[in-house]
Structures are given as structure tokens and as C-alpha cells.
């Protein structure tokens, strides 16, 4: 199910992104559609509240973590004699000491009391402007929402490098300079998205792991990828003859792309590190892994939608870049 949503987001993004084609001006409605889709994307990412599911509440109580969490009141009864909520799937009582009115509310904020082994209600909450919730994980809290912006930028850079490799192959087969321009443009946009993924990851790492750069395998591998593609631009600028430049660049991009799946998907998972999905964790990470954990149903759909929006944005930027390069060539 997870794979289906993610794959269909990318495929739909590619299909719509190629309307009418890669190099013609995009239609008016297409451009403004992206604007509206992205506004909705930002609202979907930022506004939902964070709610713990009931199994997480049991985990909090078992490990005696005394931090506030938000619970959804599903299937509860009130023991009026002791003003206690009983939720069938939570193994500990929830005491309403401060007499909060929970009869019309769907969300309550609770804090575990390890001395008395119960949850105390410390407040009530409403759903935000959008009536959906994302999972609350205490180590991340609101930072979990960064994933929906950070991971798509990295995956879009893989798409860009793949396109650059495809156009490089087409150039070598047909020796038409337009394919060299397409490949060069795609590599440029790919590097831009890789830099965005690296910088957003660094900011997230500072708050999660204490430092901007930790030489974590995933950070190291994306750094290697940047070096490989920066070298591509160095190679291009060093060759004056256009035919030689196009030929060597194409060969370089084909070989460079062979390193992309290894650096992006394989190396970070076979080495132990700080990133989720590293070796020894038992899962392939929150996005590709099989468990629910960080990615509940709502967050998964938002992630797929964000991937779709970023794919469309990528094709628009690529379209502008290619048209600029072609104009330069004509001039």
C-alpha cells in the first residue's frame, strides 16, 4: 500500500509534468495549478496536530516517560465515581483531576504520573483547520513534518539524475545537441535539489543529533554525490570543443548515474548510522520500511502528495532551464 501510494505519486507527477512536453512553454492552467497545489501542500504539512496512538501511550507509561502527549478519545467510558476515563486499549487509567470537559472533545492532553501509575489530563485540544492528525513521536515532535519536505527533494534529485542519464544515452545514439542540453539541464536541476536536500537535512540534524554534520553514512553519501556531479560541471567547462564536450559529458553522466542508487538507497542502509533505516535498526526506514511507526496513514498520503507536487515543480524548473539553454545556444 505504501509503495503503491509513493509510486503512483511519482508516476502521476511525471505524466502531468510532461504536459505538453519537456521544452514547450507550459500552459497557463498548468503553472497556476502548481501554485495552488503547493499552497495546499504547505497547509497539509504544517497545520495538523500531533496525536499519539494508544499503543504509543502504553509504551510511554511502560517506560515511565513523564512528557505530555495528545490522545484521541476513541471508545472511552467515564467512571463517574472517580472521574476517570477508561479507554479499552490503554492499560492505565486516565484521571481528570482538573475537571476538564471531555464530553464534546476528541483530543486530550495527558501526562503520565509514574508515582501513581496513571495519566493525568492536563488539557483538551481541537483538530486544526484540517481535521487530521499526524503521529506524535516524542524525540521528533513537530520536526516529523520536515520529512515530508526533506525526503521528496532528495528523491527528485534522483529523478533528475536519471533523466540526465537517459538524455546522455540518447545523445550518444543520435548525436543531436538538443539531448546534450537536456542532459546538462537535468543534471543542473538535480544538483540544485541535492543541495536543498543536504541543507534541509543539516538543519534537521542540528536539532535531532546536536550538530549540522555528523559524517553519518547518508550525509557522507550525499556529499559524495554532490562531488561527483560538481565534477561533471568542471569537466564541461574545461572542454572547448562542443562535440567533444557533449560526448565526454554524456559518458560521464551515464557512469555517474550508476553510483546514484548505491549512494542514495543502498550504502545508508548497509552502514550503521544516525539516519532512520540504517543497518541494525531492523527496518528500511520510515518511508521504505514496512512498519507504520513514523508514517501513519495521513502522513503517508501527505508524503505522496508532496512528492507529486515536487515532481511537478521539478519539471517546471527543468522546462525553464532547457528553454534558457536553447535560447543561449541560438543567441
Amino acid at each position: 500500500m505504501k509503495g503503491l501510494i509513493i509510486a503512483s505519486s511519482v508516476i502521476l507527477g511525471i505524466i502531468i509534468g510532461l504536459i505538453p512536453n519537456l521544452i514547450k512553454e507550459k500552459p497557463f492552467w498548468w503553472k497556476y495549478l502548481i501554485g495552488v497545489l503547493f499552497i495546499l501542500n504547505l497547509v497539509l504539512i504544517l497545520s495538523p496536530v500531533l496525536v499519539s496512538d494508544h499503543s504509543y501511550a502504553n509504551y510511554i507509561a511502560k517506560t515511565e516517560i513523564e512528557e505530555p502527549i495528545t490522545l484521541e478519545l476513541k471508545d472511552y467510558t467515564i467512571n463517574s465515581a472517580r472521574d476517570t476515563l477508561i479507554i479499552s486499549t490503554i492499560n492505565y487509567p486516565i484521571i481528570n483531576n482538573s475537571n476538564y470537559d471531555v464530553t464534546t472533545k476528541e483530543l486530550i492532553e495527558v501526562k503520565f504520573n509514574k508515582q501513581n501509575k496513571h495519566f493525568s489530563i492536563i488539557g483538551t485540544k481541537d483538530y486544526s483547520i484540517i481535521p487530521i492528525s499526524y503521529p506524535l513521536i516524542l524525540e521528533l515532535k513537530e520536526r516529523i513534518k520536515i520529512m515530508v519536505l526533506h525526503v521528496p527533494t532528495a528523491w527528485i534529485s534522483v529523478l533528475a539524475y536519471l533523466l540526465s542519464m537517459i538524455y546522455s544515452v540518447m545523445y550518444l545514439r543520435k548525436r543531436d545537441y538538443k539531448y546534450d542540453i537536456y542532459a546538462h539541464s537535468a543534471a543542473g536541476v538535480g544538483v540544485m535539489f541535492t543541495i536543498l536536500a543536504t541543507v534541509t537535512g543539516m538543519i534537521w540534524a542540528k536539532f535531532n543529533w546536536g550538530a549540522y554534520w555528523n559524517w553519518d553514512p547518508r550525509q557522507t553519501s550525499i556529499f559524495m554525490l554532490l562531488i561527483i556531479y560538481f565534477a561533471y560541471f568542471g569537466l564541461r567547462s574545461a572542454i572547448e570543443n562542443s562535440e567533444t564536450r557533449a560526448r565526454l559529458s554524456s559518458v560521464y553522466l551515464i557512469i555517474a548515474f550508476t553510483t546514484v542508487p548505491f549512494f542514495v538507497f543502498i550504502l545508508p542502509r548497509i552502514s550503521s548510522g544516525l539516519h532512520p533505516g540504517a543497518a541494525g535498526e531492523g527496518t528500511a526506514g520510515p518511508v521504505l520500511g514496512g512498519g507504520a511507526e513514523m508514517l501513519n496513514h495521513n502522513l503517508l498520503i501527505t508524503f505522496g502528495y508532496s512528492l507529486f507536487c515536487f515532481t511537478l515543480l521539478f519539471f517546471w524548473i527543468l522546462n525553464l532551464k532547457i528553454r534558457t539553454e536553447l535560447l543561449n545556444k541560438k543567441w
Binding site: E25, I39, L42, L326, L327, K330
Partner: protein, 62 residues
């Protein structure tokens, strides 16, 4: 107005949302501006060199 400011002070994530939306709208309208400029330049080149396109693999208005 005061109620809105109190609401924003208590729900600071909406401030982040407003700023993110403003940044996105800025980027979006800049992309629209660049797109229009490129289209204008393409039309200028087509007017100057109407035969340019045929051998150039469908660059402008295929």
C-alpha cells in the same frame, strides 16, 4: 485583530505556515516572471529568424 494575534501567539505553528506560504508565493511569482521573460525572448528570436526552428529540433512552437 487582537483575537487573531492572541490565536497566533498560542498556536505558533500557524506563524510558520504563514511565513512558508509567503516564501512559496514569492518563489512561485518569480518563476512565472522568468517564464514570461523566456517566452518573450523566444518570440523575438522567432520573429528575427523564422526559419531557425526547422533544423533545430523543435525549439520554439513546434
Amino acid at each position: 485583530m487582537v483575537e487573531n494575534m492572541n490565536f497566533l501567539e498560542q498556536n505558533t505553528l500557524y506563524i510558520v505556515l504563514i511565513i512558508s506560504l509567503m516564501i512559496w508565493l514569492g518563489i512561485f511569482f518569480y518563476l512565472i516572471f522568468v517564464d514570461k521573460k523566456i517566452t518573450r525572448l523566444e518570440k523575438m528570436i522567432l520573429i528575427d529568424n523564422p526559419k531557425t526552428d526547422k533544423n533545430n529540433s523543435g525549439v520554439i512552437n513546434e
